[in-house]
Symmetry: C2
Subunit: 429 residues, 2 copies
């Protein structure tokens, strides 16, 4: 029998945890499946830190594991964060104690999802993580539940709002990465240590989870190919715009005959494409299935309101008692994750060179490309002030990455070429 | 206990029913919650009609009600269609017999949803209808499950692919409504009797269902304000384009202090807006919540593959045994649907006049508008060949519909005005 009152333990009282307490206090009518949700225990790094919500009446736990296993809770909500440490210990302890878990922790699920799914299914309890990907936009539920009548072949989208905000601002204001980043940090849009976001790791965690849900394979964060936006030059944003593109950090997962490819790359997206038109801190995702075709969803990827709403939706889902595997298929039946070798990937590319202003350079570059078997789609040479040379931009037809890398290595050695050519992928979506 | 094998009865073997049989034959690994789905009975208008799937091995029923109540089925799938008649009788019979029901029937749910929800909840069985709205794009699941941690204040979108195809083609090819409609009929994109689609009734059924899910109120199709696209002139599509808009059939549901407003109108949407850029037979929807902000989803709204995938996802959902009310809140607890009077609605409008080519017309029109208290936002007079007069287009600032109607009535009586002014709403989304 399901309890009519669900006693909830919340670990972590930051933005999301505070938003959840706020939601439950504002919505006394929140009664999924006729039950009530009551917070009966909290834990956080500091008990005394000033908070917008009064927690003095809620039992306090110093130790997340003690909260997770307390006989006074029926459901454990983990909002501590981090792939290991207290978050992992507490989630494991809760599942072993037979308690359903709701978490917003993308790193934990991406790096330890398969073992946690096995624990959850052994205990026969749900492990839900809607808030881990796209905040309030229900990408997880869509893939886990709404797409089971289809075979998903790929997902691609914008999963990190901080990167999208920075790229949008760089383009709109003509400011450098470093300038926009420090402003974003001042405004609270970027962390003091921005590595997880701008390095592409946060997006990689998220798309690793989506790949597992989409393809029924074990999440494999180690197999993700990750490139962040910290190397994106304003020059490339401008040249890409002249060619009809915008630069976006595209996270994608594709199922091919060779296996699964999970990638995060700054990529060119044609202007007018919904991902190119996704601006600021928004997130967006295309899901492609063999029967349904393409579905697009777009919405907020972070923030107290949206993320807490996603956590609350998961709590409601636990209260409705579904019997559902964590990642589309039972944990014991997850397909092995066969990674496609990066060199085997085929796609269109943008190459930007910086060359000396002298005759014969274009001929030398195009001969080298022809020798390597790279076919050019478009070519743009444009004088840019203060670029330290003459930029040449070319886009290629679809080509294997191994061929492209070979061509880049050879072009770099040409005497008139001033630096290693800059490679950006052109998104296939 | 849940049966390990779910015996499914399917009523209706048209596009969607055929697609469902196809899916289940292609996917022997379809095993939600560890169960298997097996078709153990079918019924349709004709047993002998040629079909792409061989049904000779499946027990045949002449009567949908007999199938719905057969002891040989655990789950009834209704794909017959129609708000009354055999579809309604069979769904009622199945629910009364304690069998879960999955349906794609928007008319049935929009017109009889509250009483069917009560039957389902009395029997303690699910009644699911993902395929009724937006085909394979999971709008129903999003509103019913993913948005329960938020308070939805409005939805607005394109819910009828036939209308969107016709409007897109009219604009792109400069063809009249009648010409594009007959071509769409030849290509199978529009029914022989297109009234349900082009009259806006299909979109109204769908948005009635979305309103119930979004606001937890009983579906009230009778309260929907409905205007189709059959009166949209190519002239207006062209003039709207000159003003920076496209015309789309927008279905919306809004929760206001006065009550709920459910409307279907051909409306102007600014170029570049995701709904203006939704072309052809695609469907798209904005969902706005107080916490999450805005979520946008876009995808196929019809077709065998997408719609059958939605039905299969609902079957999977039944097999996971959730305990969930049909429309967000228990049937006995649905809020009464308080409709906002159409005259109280406030919004911007597009008015197109056809006037005699003589001096003083513009003065007369603008004086009349000023007297009525209508404030003009933009004004366009443009000679158009064969229009039978001089078209004048104006857009207004936000204004109550009652004021607007009064102004239209008075303008119609001006001596230089050749016909009743044409009113189109400017979408607020």
């Amino acid at each position: 029998m399901s309890p009519r009152v669900w006693r909830i333990g919340v670990a972590g009282l930051g933005t999301v945890g505070g938003g959840l307490l706020q939601f439950l206090s504002e919505r006394p009518d929140f009664a999924p499946a006729g039950g009530r949700a009551v917070i009966t225990g909290v834990t956080a790094r500091s008990r005394s830190r000033p908070r917008s919500i009064d927690i003095s009446a809620i039992p306090w736990f110093d130790d997340p594991v003690a909260l997770a296993t307390s006989p006074d809770i029926d459901l454990f909500v983990e909002l501590v964060g981090g792939s290991d440490g207290p978050a992992k210990a507490a989630v494991e302890a809760a599942l072993k104690a037979g308690k359903p878990v709701v978490t917003a922790n993308k790193a934990l699920i991406a790096e330890h999802g398969a073992e946690l799914a096995a624990l959850a299914e052994t205990a026969g309890v749900p492990l839900l993580f809607e808030a881990a990907v796209m905040g309030g936009t229900p990408a997880v539920k869509m893939l886990r539940e709404a797409m089971v009548g289809d075979d998903v072949v790929g997902v691609a989208g914008i999963l990190n709002g901080t990167c999208n905000f920075i790229l949008s601002e760089m383009e709109q204001r003509g400011a450098s990465f470093a300038d926009v980043l420090s402003e974003a940090q001042r405004m609270g849009y970027a962390e003091a240590d921005p590595t997880m976001d701008v390095g592409g790791f946060d997006a990689a965690h998220k798309v690793t989870i989506l790949a597992a849900l989409a393809f029924g394979c074990a999440p494999n964060y180690a197999a993700a190919e990750i490139e962040g936006i910290d190397q994106v030059d304003l020059l490339d944003i401008r040249l890409a715009r002249d060619l009809g593109y915008r630069i976006r950090l595209i996270a994608s997962a594709d199922r091919t005959a060779d296996g699964v490819a999970v990638r995060v790359h700054p990529s060119l997206v044609a202007q007018g494409h919904p991902l190119a038109e996704t601006r600021g801190a928004l997130n967006a995702l295309f899901i492609e299935g063999t029967r349904i075709g393409r579905i697009f969803i777009q919405g907020p990827g972070a923030g107290a309101g949206p993320t807490a709403a996603a956590v609350a939706a998961d709590i409601a889902d636990v209260m409705t008692l579904p019997v559902r595997p964590v990642f589309q298929r039972p944990a014991g039946d997850l397909k092995p994750f066969v990674a496609v070798a990066p060199t085997r990937r085929v796609g269109k590319a943008y190459l930007r060179l910086l060359v000396k202003d002298q005759p014969g350079v274009i001929a030398a570059v195009s001969e080298t490309l022809a020798e390597c078997g790279v076919s050019i789609d478009s070519f743009l040479q444009k004088p840019v002030e203060d670029a330290g040379g003459v930029p040449i931009v070319l886009t290629t037809h679809a080509i294997a990455e191994s061929v492209l890398t070979d061509a880049i290595n050879r072009i770099e050695k040409l005497p008139a070429v001033l630096e290693r050519p800059r490679l950006l992928r052109i998104a296939r979506i």
